[in-house]
């Protein structure tokens, strides 16, 4: 579903944020992307979702090149950033309606999905209020509902659990499993190693823009905890 091949991204100042990154996320995968602050996680994600261009390599979403056909790729994926800066001058429902319009979701389908997801995240009653009145967690919930509105084949999340209350975090985890069971794939970055270990069937660890370990979670951890492995590889490699 997502294939990142030899991705290299150099910022204009000369900093190499991602160097020869290779990641392969298949349908049904929940793929965790782990690394220190500034390791290159967000840069890699931003290259995938179309915020950054990149210098070398290729990115394919469902075998479609992000470089050649960005719109087709965007139509089948969804992205939630670490800090959901949404349109604060819109109400929650106006925002969701806007996103549904952009993805071409029919009126009936959007109604059903918004009802289902907003009830699950317990935010239906606040959808008529301006987003500027929302807390960080509420914005995060609306961003998640917006991302799920067109049933994406690939869901990309940057630190999705930051700001979510425990119940919403559990709901999101269930949604992630639900999506994967339906054949979608999830690629997300996180600092919370416990979550990654329990949730992900695959992980990749990035340091200084380079992937230093990747594969099935069980293979990467090899009986240790992900935290121990992470500390070991990031300090010794």
């Amino acid at each position: 579903m997502l294939k990142i091949s030899n991705l290299t991204k150099i910022y204009k100042g000369g900093k190499k944020a991602a160097s020869d990154v290779n990641i392969h996320v298949q349908a049904g995968d929940i793929y965790g992307f782990i690394g220190h602050n500034g390791a290159g996680k967000t840069t890699t994600i931003k290259c995938v979702v179309g915020i950054h261009d990149f210098d070398q390599g290729e990115i394919f979403v469902n075998e479609i090149s992000v470089k050649d056909e960005p719109l087709k790729c965007k139509e089948i994926m969804a992205y939630i950033p670490d800090n959901p800066d949404l349109y604060e001058y819109l109400t929650g429902i106006q925002y969701l309606n806007f996103i549904a319009d952009v993805y071409g979701v029919s009126a009936k389908e959007r109604e059903e999905r918004i009802r289902k997801e907003s009830d699950a995240f317990e935010i239906t009653s606040a959808l008529g209020d301006l987003i500027s009145s929302y807390s960080h967690g509420m914005k995060q919930k609306v961003a998640i509902i917006g991302a799920l509105i067109h049933k994406p084949k690939l869901l990309i999340l940057d630190e999705p659990f930051v700001g979510l209350d425990p119940k919403a975090a559990l709901t999101l985890k269930n949604k992630m499993h639900e999506l994967c069971e339906e054949g979608s794939a999830i690629f997300f970055s996180t600092h919370v190693l416990d979550v990654a270990e329990k949730l992900c069937n695959k992980v990749a660890i990035i340091r200084n823009g380079q992937i230093i370990a990747s594969g099935n979670t069980e293979d990467v951890t090899a009986g240790s905890s992900l935290e121990d492995v992470f500390m070991e590889v990031t300090e010794n490699v």
Partner: protein, 531 residues
């Protein structure tokens, strides 16, 4: 407290004109943009300096050297007042950094003063650009004593204090009123525009008995200027009296503004937090029930979003709608006065055909001063990631912004054109040009605004004022708008009345061609490559 004010001011200075970002950025294209911005500002400053030098020379040659300092002082003060009350409220009560600052151990007056000083520093630059060349011309031609220069320099340093304080008081009152309403931005924009129209109304209604200038009047002009400016803006007269030896007047033009400023800070610091809290507070009902939803096309959805964004920001509205409001004011003014009276007022007979010919271009000029598109990409700010990551064609994003600009301009355009039709002589061709030329300019400038903003985007702003008023994009847009609407008028005047229809047809054709070219060119620019 002074130490705290100094620290906060230094913090504000880092952000002025993006100097700090320029010093530390490693991004070459960003550095180039800063350099271009600096070059543009240098050209503007050079133009102002040249104008002031010429004006000062002319006034001194006409024997009015003794009123030159007060004339410059008053003009700069009025410009500062008008241009600052648009933004003073937003700068003083900016929520950016407010929460961080109020939790630090510093008095609220320090926050107020530091925010005021940010406006003061930029306005001091304007004061220097006008007052220094004027003073030097006077010094070279009239050879005054050293004390003139000292008093003149002190006066220049204190010049921004009073207009900025008055503008801040107005801005604070508008913010205080609007903060108590549900639709804060709309109320604020409406109050600001009403105030602007009122100021223009006052200027226009000032009694003016003189129809034309005679030689006798010219001899007494210095006295007339002194009397009228002294009545209109007394600090200018006090400044004039002080530089020419009336040292006691220093108390007037320094002491009084200082006292007003201190009183303003003392009062505002009491209400500062409550106004900020009210402005920051958003009412939430939390009682929404999901009803039937409707689907619509992508461009329509983007266009509606764009209009919501526009009307949610008072700074955005007041600064970009002003040209359209002025076009209506001009159209109504010309209708009331009549074209023949314009010639009389200007003291030039037989000018009516030229005024009639220039009327569509006057509307166009006013409607080209500010466009909503010139900062519409910058106004995406931290939300820009959304249009970048959603499956939207960049072409549709630009189109929605152009359509929003046209939507905002449309009511003002319609009123101006109807007033124009009622003013000019009944002639189908004149009616046609009055409708077509401003329409072409609105679309041309909307597309041009996008083109300019693509070239000079600014997403990293703390306050909307920076994107709307202080960005390179806005400055370039103003220059292009003025040049684009003045050059055709000059060409038409040179060609004469007999060629006017052909000339206007050529101008419209050029506008349409350039607009189509830019629109197509912009459409190829991916959102990913902006910034």
């Amino acid at each position: 407290m002074f130490k705290q004010i100094f620290r906060l001011c230094r913090l504000q200075m880092y952000n002025i004109f993006g100097i700090n970002e320029f010093r530390h950025t490693k991004d070459k294209s960003k550095r180039k943009r800063f350099e271009l911005m600096a070059a543009l500002w240098s050209v503007v400053i050079l133009m102002v300096v040249s104008y002031v030098v010429g004006l000062s020379y002319g006034l001194i040659k006409l024997g009015m050297g003794n009123v030159l300092p007060m004339y410059l002082y008053a003009v700069v003060s009025i410009i500062m007042l008008v241009f600052t009350f648009f933004k003073s409220g937003s700068v003083l009560f900016s929520m950016k950094g407010y929460e961080m600052l109020v939790t630090l151990p510093m008095p609220k007056s320090a926050i107020v003063v530091s925010r005021f000083m940010k406006m003061y520093m930029t306005n001091l630059l304007l004061a220097c650009v006008v007052m220094i060349p004027g003073g030097l011309v006077y010094g070279i031609m009239e050879n005054p004593s050293a004390i003139f220069y000292i008093i003149y320099a002190i006066g220049t340093v204190f010049l921004p204090l009073l207009p900025l304080t008055i503008a801040s008081i107005i801005g604070a009152i508008i913010k205080a009123i609007s903060s108590r309403t549900r639709r804060k931005s709309m109320v604020e924009a409406l109050l600001t525009i009403l105030l602007l129209v009122a100021i223009f109304g006052i200027f226009m209604s000032l009694p003016d008995d003189e129809k034309s200038i005679s030689l006798e009047m010219l001899k007494n002009m210095a006295g007339i200027i002194e009397e009228k400016l002294g009545m209109f803006y007394p600090p200018a007269l006090w400044f004039n009296n002080a530089v020419f030896g009336g040292f006691s007047y220093i108390i007037g033009y320094i002491g009084i503004p200082l006292v007003i400023f201190v009183l303003f800070v003392a009062v505002l610091q009491k209400y500062f937090q409550s106004i900020c809290t009210l402005l920051n507070g958003v009412s939430a009902r939390n009682d929404y029930r999901l009803t039937t939803l409707k689907s619509q096309g992508v461009v329509k959805a983007l266009w509606k979003k764009e209009l919501k964004r526009y009307f949610a920001s008072s700074i955005y509205v007041t600064n970009t709608i002003v040209g359209y409001v002025l076009a209506v004011v001009a159209a109504v003014g010309v209708f009331i006065l009549g074209i023949d009276k314009i010639g009389e007022l200007l003291g030039i007979s037989g000018i009516e055909p030229i005024v009639e010919m220039a009327l569509p271009f006057i509307y166009s000029l006013l409607m080209s001063i500010a466009t909503t598109t010139s900062c519409s990409i910058s106004m995406e700010g931290k939300n820009f990631w959304m249009v970048q990551t959603l499956p939207i064609r960049s072409k549709d994003v630009y189109l929605s912004k152009i359509l929003a600009n046209i939507t905002v301009a449309a009511p003002f355009y319609i009123v101006s054109v109807i007033m124009g039709w009622l003013t000019v002589k009944p002639d189908m061709m004149e009616y046609l040009w009055l409708a077509v030329i401003p329409a072409c300019y609105i679309v041309y400038m909307a597309v041009m605004g996008i083109t300019i903003n693509i070239a000079f985007p600014s997403f990293n702003w703390d306050n909307e004022v920076q994107a709307v008023k202080q960005s390179a994009s806005t400055l370039v847009n103003i220059i292009v708008g003025i040049v684009s609407s003045i050059v055709p008028v000059v060409v038409m005047v040179l060609l004469g009345e007999s060629m006017s229809d052909i000339a206007r047809l050529v101008i419209v054709s050029v506008l349409v061609t350039v607009t189509a070219f830019l629109y197509n060119k912009n459409g190829k620019k991916e959102l990913q490559g902006i910034g």
